[in-house]
Amino acid sequence: MDSQLKKGLLEICVLAALAKQDSYGYQIIKDVSQVIEISESTLYPILKRLEASRDLETYSVEHNSRLRKYYRLTDSGRRHIADFLDDWKSVMAVIDFIKGEVHHD
């Protein structure tokens, strides 16, 4: 997959992984890697970036006598997902067009 495209998709996947409930690093990796390859070193800059753009917030919870960092989706993050899905409709139209033209020949 094209790396720019993958970067964009990963970002939305990470946000989507937080849509139902707050989550933590390893859980996000497990959830997202079902559909797209993701490693710790790729997740880290994504989380940092999304936190900087206020698409998600963090808090720490004590868990088995250590701190675990949790990530929570914000309203801005939800809007971000919705915008992506909206955009994707027009991308799908383009793909349908490409497919139609190719099959025509």
Binding site: I29, S39, Y44, P45, K48
Partner: protein
């Protein structure tokens, strides 16, 4: 590799980062290992699933390197803009004067390494000519004149060593001073922002 070995290696690879940032990266990696162990993986397996400490450190450092600068002045209202424009003859002149004083200071300070370099080159020339010419002077003019000539050459060599030493000390110092000042000036008008 054990968890401790992994984290030690990561720590070492991140040694140039400031402490708070290093702590964030370190905690992130530790959490990833410990969550895996808690999930039922043996320690060695949990560590093996991660990328190498060096790769991990590289990702952290690259992410950190992605900073750029944004022009930012505290312009937050129309009033400020009006004041800025009306006050220009005052603050403009002061700013210009300040920059000129700074420039003069740097020109003055820059003379020291410059003089050292010029001295080094010219003394090298004197030493070479004097020392190499002295045997001819001894033969063709007089022994005394030749010995004096040789002495001058050796003195020039001594001076050359001192000047070169001075240059090698003052050049890095001057460079650092220029860099620091440039960074300070930039921090007045520009704000560091994340790339994304």
């Amino acid at each position: 590799m054990t968890e401790k070995e992994y984290l030690d290696a990561l720590n070492k690879a991140l040694k140039w980062l400031p402490k708070p940032e290093k702590e964030i990266c370190f905690n992130y990696a530790r959490e990833m290992i410990e969550d895996r162990i808690e999930n039922g993986l043996p320690e060695a397996e949990a560590v093996a699933q991660l990328e190498s400490p060096q790769q991990m450190a590289k990702a952290f450092l690259e992410d950190r390197g992605s900073l750029k600068f944004k022009f930012s002045l505290p312009i937050n209202s129309v009033m400020t803009v009006i004041l800025l424009i009306l006050g220009f003859p005052l603050w403009g002149a002061l700013l210009l004067a300040g920059l000129m004083i700074l420039l003069a200071g740097f020109l003055l300070a820059g003379c020291v390494p410059f003089i050292c370099v010029v001295m080094t080159v010219s003394l090298l020339f004197v030493a070479l000519v004097s020392v190499s010419a002295s045997p001819f002077v001894m033969v063709s003019v007089s022994l005394i004149a030749g010995v004096i000539q040789l002495g001058v050459g050796v003195m020039a060599l001594g001076g050359l060593i001192l000047a070169a030493l001075g240059a090698s000390l003052t050049i890095p110092w001057f460079k650092a001073a220029v860099m620091k000042t440039a960074q300070f000036l930039r921090s007045l008008f520009f704000q560091e922002v994340s790339k994304w």
